[in-house]
């Protein structure tokens, strides 16, 4: 399966991104890593171009909420019905609770939302989700 990954917006926290790249590969995914400072449109472009199954977005610096509001429109525009949208990292400015964050991002159009969730736990859940779908 093909995954497009990267860190959204003007966020340059790269450490998790490097680990995600390694971990996805170790789990057998084909990875297109756009790195940090990647705008939402670039994720969509790369997914279309590479015919990806999954878009896995990281956000650490608190910006995600600002950017991801536009996801619904983009998703509609590009008709990316079968692409799984995943986001994880630190999904708010300041401290926030899961109960508030998860529904919010689901309403933006994400299938899986991992706020402050450990990488391996998140990727296990992703594989579980993919398993159920197929």
């Amino acid at each position: 399966m093909k995954v497009v990954t990267g860190v959204v917006g003007n966020d340059i926290h790269v450490v998790a991104n490097r680990l995600i790249d390694i971990s996805l590969q170790a789990r057998g995914f084909e990875v297109f890593n756009l790195g940090v400072n990647t705008h939402l449109e670039e994720f969509i472009d790369a997914a279309v171009e590479s015919d990806a199954d999954i878009i896995l977005i990281s956000s650490l610096n608190g910006e995600a909420e600002g950017w991801c509001r536009d996801l619904q429109f983009l998703r509609a525009e590009y008709a990316l019905k079968n692409v799984v949208f995943v986001i994880g990292g630190n999904l708010s400015v300041g401290e926030a609770k899961d109960e508030d964050i998860v529904p919010k991002y689901e309403s933006y159009g994400f299938d899986l939302v991992f706020h402050q969730v450990d990488l391996n736990t998140g990727l296990d859940k992703l594989e579980e989700f993919l398993g159920k779908r197929s």
Binding site: G62, N90, S92, G94
Partner: protein, 455 residues
């Protein structure tokens, strides 16, 4: 009109900026209270100054933050800039500022100084009448710094390398050098009017397994580039490494080297300060433990006799800290400094000798580059990996140096890439770690080392 003046006229004109009145600004700086100048405070204080981080989107919230800090008897006020402004995206910053003002939710991770403008910000800065330090991470900070200085902010952090390699993916490095040259010059010019403007380099870089020799070389080069332009007060800095001894070694060596290289380019009248950053890497998710970690950092700052410490909070792993939490961190650190007495000097001759040799080798390679100016030599050295920062997101970075921690948590170089360090030094570094040939073991060790402060 000088080239500098022309450049200035272009910079300060864009749709997000009010008119700059430069003669009024000069007058303001000339008559500004000495208490706004950290260079003045460094001269007149014998303890380690305490500075937190902190920037909120709206003017009112920033003002409240400063009120909290004032109660905690802070030494240096921070002004942290949001990440849109850092990438000169004033449009997004404006939009998020408006959302923040409308909804009382913070939609920015810092204070969008350019959008607020210097006239407003100066009111706040002069009201509190303590030194303010500008923290950003901007490769092209020309407009930001003009706005800061006009606001009464007389310490400017950053530099062409330290604010680029950790903070940007694509921004052209050569442009960054030129833009920072502009910043140095503006700071140098204003330094004649009253107390000197202090420039500070950002030693933590990516805060992730950066070896001491690379940190110090970059500190020295940014210092030299700044002194070359006439800056008279400069702070070199580094962050807690994870090994107390390595911190002490770094502090001793960076002091010696700063002195040596400043003299080497003929500058003898500049003041060089040492700034220590509390742990800058990944924090534990237990707030009690974060408190312990922070206190441990303060202890080390005292041990290495730093002139200033930049502190973290117990909220670090979670998000931008609340004001109260941040002010509490200031108070705790000040208490620790107050009660911590009778600090022994720490000297490790062998480690210091190795580190000095590594630094001299790299500096020599930089100076030996065939380009005509120091900034071009430095540019070339970064491009060909003579300087190489682990975990930099920037495309120009060589990414060939690999480091891991030895059993005492010292950061050691196990792949030297193009670093021009001697065989002897490299052998020393490698002798400290039990090297495994297996790549996944090394990767797992690196992952573990990133989480070294986790519970």
């Amino acid at each position: 009109m000088s080239l500098h003046q022309k450049e200035r006229d272009i910079i300060v004109q864009n749709e997000y900026v009010d008119n700059f009145d430069f003669s009024e600004i000069e007058e303001f700086i000339t008559n500004a209270s000495k208490d706004l100048f950290i260079s003045h405070k460094f001269k007149n204080s014998s303890t380690t100054l305490v500075q937190p981080r902190g920037g909120f989107p709206t003017y009112n919230k920033q003002y409240e933050l400063y009120e909290e800090f004032e109660k905690a008897d802070i030494d240096v006020m921070p002004l942290t800039i949001d990440s849109h402004t850092r990438l000169n995206d004033y449009g997004s910053a404006k939009k998020m500022l408006m959302l923040s003002e409308a909804n009382e939710v913070d939609m920015l991770n810092g204070y969008p100084l350019v959008n607020h403008g210097y006239r407003n910000t100066r009111k706040m800065v002069t009201h509190f009448n303590r030194p303010v330090s500008l923290r950003h991470g901007t490769p092209d900070a020309r407009l930001l710094i003009e706005t800061a200085l006009a606001s009464g902010i007389f310490e400017i952090e950053g530099g062409p390398i330290t604010y680029l390699l950790p903070y940007s993916k694509n921004f052209p490095l050569d442009k960054a050098f030129l833009y920072w040259k502009y910043v140095e010059r503006v700071c140098a010019n204003y330094s004649g009017l009253n107390e000197p403007i202090n420039r500070e380099s950002f030693g933590p870089l990516t805060a992730t397994l950066v070896p001491p020799c690379i940190t110090i070389v970059i500190q020295l080069l940014e210092m030299l580039l700044s002194l070359e332009e006439g800056v008279k007060s400069f702070s070199v800095s580094f962050a807690q490494t994870g090994s107390v001894n390595q911190d002490a070694v770094m502090a001793n060596v960076i002091r010696k080297m700063a002195d040596f290289y400043a003299k080497k380019i003929g500058v003898e009248d500049a003041t060089i300060n040492l700034v220590y950053h509390q742990w800058m890497g990944a924090f534990p998710r237990n707030k009690e433990f974060s408190d312990s970690l922070i206190n441990t950092s303060s202890f080390i700052a005292s041990l290495v006799r730093a002139d200033k410490i930049i502190i973290k909070t117990r909220d670090e792993a979670f998000g931008i800290p609340t004001m109260q939490c941040n002010a509490q961190s200031v108070a705790n650190t000040k208490y620790t400094f107050k009660v911590l007495k009778g600090l022994p000097p720490i000297v490790d001759e062998e480690e210091e000798a190795i580190l000095e040799e590594e630094i001299h080798s790299i500096m020599e390679a930089v100076f030996n580059d065939s380009a005509d100016t120091l900034w071009r030599k430095t540019f070339n050295s970064i491009k060909n990996g003579i300087i190489d920062v682990p975990f930099s997101p920037h495309i120009i970075n060589h990414n060939a140096v690999v480091t891991i921690r030895d059993e005492h948590s010292n950061i050691r170089i196990i792949e030297k890439g193009n670093l021009p360090i001697s065989e002897k030094c490299f052998a020393y570094e490698k002798s400290k770690v039990k090297l495994s040939e297996d790549k996944t073991t090394v990767i797992n060790k690196i992952i573990e080392d990133i989480g070294v402060m986790h519970e």
